[in-house]
């Protein structure tokens, strides 16, 4: 991604961003609400109109037709049909991707919704709903998974399980870009991009960030970076 600028609602929300993500890693996109995480993610999957800059995904321009089977995308707000059952939703999205039918059972299992497979989505809890949304992104075994706040509202045990799943997928060669605003999730990534107000504040491994700022946890490291930055700007 190079020189990315995006204007939404008459305001530039991403200012000249550039970064690269190596394959087979988990990259965390962290920052407060409204810092541009979702816009960045939308640019990555090619649904965002961008002002300038280039976004290259798996060797092709973002949003290219050839990528539509290779990139899985889970939006922050679950984008599934509330009036269909879990299995019906996933069967439909599997048909869109040309994924085998057996994939539906696999992803339901991966997100732990086996007991709810025939339940109508509108009657699920918030956490279950976001897992259906995640399951839809896992269909077809994409090479790049772009997940916008996939663990919001989940209990710690489930969150742990999902991060184990993400780790397995990365070990299998998939690349994951996961956004979050929860700092304790940051430590589970291979690489962190800390964002604030449309800029990338820091880019590195969680250990490197802690080492660089001398902070004990990442929350503190983040604060330290903000202070440094506003200090250098003044």
């Amino acid at each position: 991604m190079q020189g990315l600028r995006v204007v939404r609602g008459g305001r530039e929300v991403l200012h000249d961003l550039a970064f690269e993500v190596p394959r087979g890693t988990i990259v965390g996109l962290l920052g407060p609400s409204g810092c541009g995480k979702t816009t960045l993610i939308r640019a990555l999957v090619g649904v965002q109109v961008v002002r300038s800059g280039t976004v290259t995904v798996l060797g092709e321009p973002a949003g290219a037709p050839g990528l539509r089977r290779r990139v899985g995308y889970a939006t922050q707000k679950p984008a599934v049909y509330g009036d269909l059952s879990v299995a019906e939703n996933l069967r439909y999205f599997a048909a869109m991707l040309g994924a085998p039918r057996s994939d539906v059972a696999r992803v339901i299992d991966e997100v732990g919704l086996g007991r709810h497979r025939d339940q109508v989505v509108a009657t699920l809890s918030g956490g279950q709903l976001s897992r259906v949304n995640l399951a839809a992104a896992l269909l077809g075994g994409p090479e790049l998974l772009v997940l916008d706040e996939p663990t919001v509202g989940l209990d710690p045990v489930l969150r742990q399980e999902l991060w184990e799943l993400f780790r397995e997928l990365a070990a299998g060669g998939a690349t994951l870009v996961v956004s979050s605003h929860v700092m304790d999730e940051a430590g589970r990534t291979d690489r962190l991009l800390l964002m604030r107000e449309g800029l990338i504040l820091a880019d590195g491994t969680p250990e490197a960030l802690r080492a660089r700022t001398g902070a004990r946890d990442l929350e503190e490291a983040f604060l330290q970076l903000i202070t440094e930055q506003s200090g250098s700007a003044a």
Binding site: V7, R8, V45, G46, V47, Q48, V49, G63, P65, R68, R69, V71, Y73, T75, K77, P78, A79, V80, Y81, G82, D83, L84, S85, E88, Y92, F93, A95, M96, L97, G98, V120, A136
Partner: protein, 244 residues
């Protein structure tokens, strides 16, 4: 375009309707109920024979317009459209999927209205019931295509519902149902010339009054089909893979 994606979309829309018993009941039951009311409001066989078929053109048109405009708006605002646009699905797959699902539904809807009208209500038809069914399904598809297009101009479901009076009622007023078009002021007649519902109602009049398939009927059906395709093409242009 991909046939299996189109058919999967049709199946998905029908499955959504299957889960929603109340909507399904209203889609099928309301036009039939309105026809029964109409029959007893008029209570004169000759008048009902004349006006009944025209309303068989209008009901599915109006209902499909509402259902599709709100339905597609839900896809747009609910994020499912954005998700679909990141998959290999072509825009035409989505539109044809909708057309097929609602076409089938229109077939059932009109079939029920027609069966009730021809038996219980004693509707006397000169043309064949099959050509009436065909014209009514074309009208329903026209309503669907216009609804799809209209949904692009609505941001909320509140607005989408109000497009019904805005897009549809002027057509109902001017289509020759309330007042023969020849008796309207010439500028109103000219406006009605370019509104598709005019041709839908005229086609129904031909079917109900003539036993043979007339040139006017064929021309009207072509106009309706042409307007449907045009609205679908314009509707496809409003489906964007990238949004601001």
């Amino acid at each position: 375009m991909n046939v299996s994606i189109t058919l999967a979309t049709t199946r998905r829309i029908l499955a959504q309707l299957r889960h929603d018993h109340r909507t399904l009941g209203m889609l099928i039951g309301v036009p039939a109920l309105l026809m029964v009311l109409l029959r007893y409001v008029f209570d004169r066989p000759g008048l009902f024979d004349r006006v009944g078929p025209l309303l068989i053109a209008v009901f599915p048109f109006v209902i499909m317009f509402i259902v599709t405009s709100v339905g597609t708006l839900r896809e747009r605002t609910g994020g499912t459209l954005e998700r679909l646009m990141t998959t290999p699905m072509a825009k035409l797959d989505l539109l044809l999927g909708y057309a097929l699902a609602f076409g089938l539904l229109a077939l059932v809807q009109v079939g029920v209205v027609l069966a009730i009208s021809l038996t219980w209500l004693g509707l006397d038809l000169h043309g064949s019931a099959w050509s009436l069914l065909l014209v009514a399904v074309l009208d329903a598809l026209l309503g669907m295509a216009l609804g799809l297009l209209a949904s692009a101009f609505a941001r909320t479901e509140f607005q989408a519902v109000q497009f019904m009076p805005a897009f549809v009622l002027p057509q109902v007023l001017l289509c020759g149902l309330l007042m023969p078009r020849a008796q309207m002021a010439s500028w109103l007649e000219a406006v009605s010339d370019v509104l598709p519902l005019t041709y839908a109602v005229e086609a129904m009049r031909e079917v109900s009054a003539r036993s043979e398939v007339t040139g006017t009927l064929l021309r009207d059906m072509l106009v309706i089909a042409g307007c449907t395709v045009l609205a679908l093409v314009l509707g496809a242009a409003t489906l964007r893979r990238r949004t601001p």
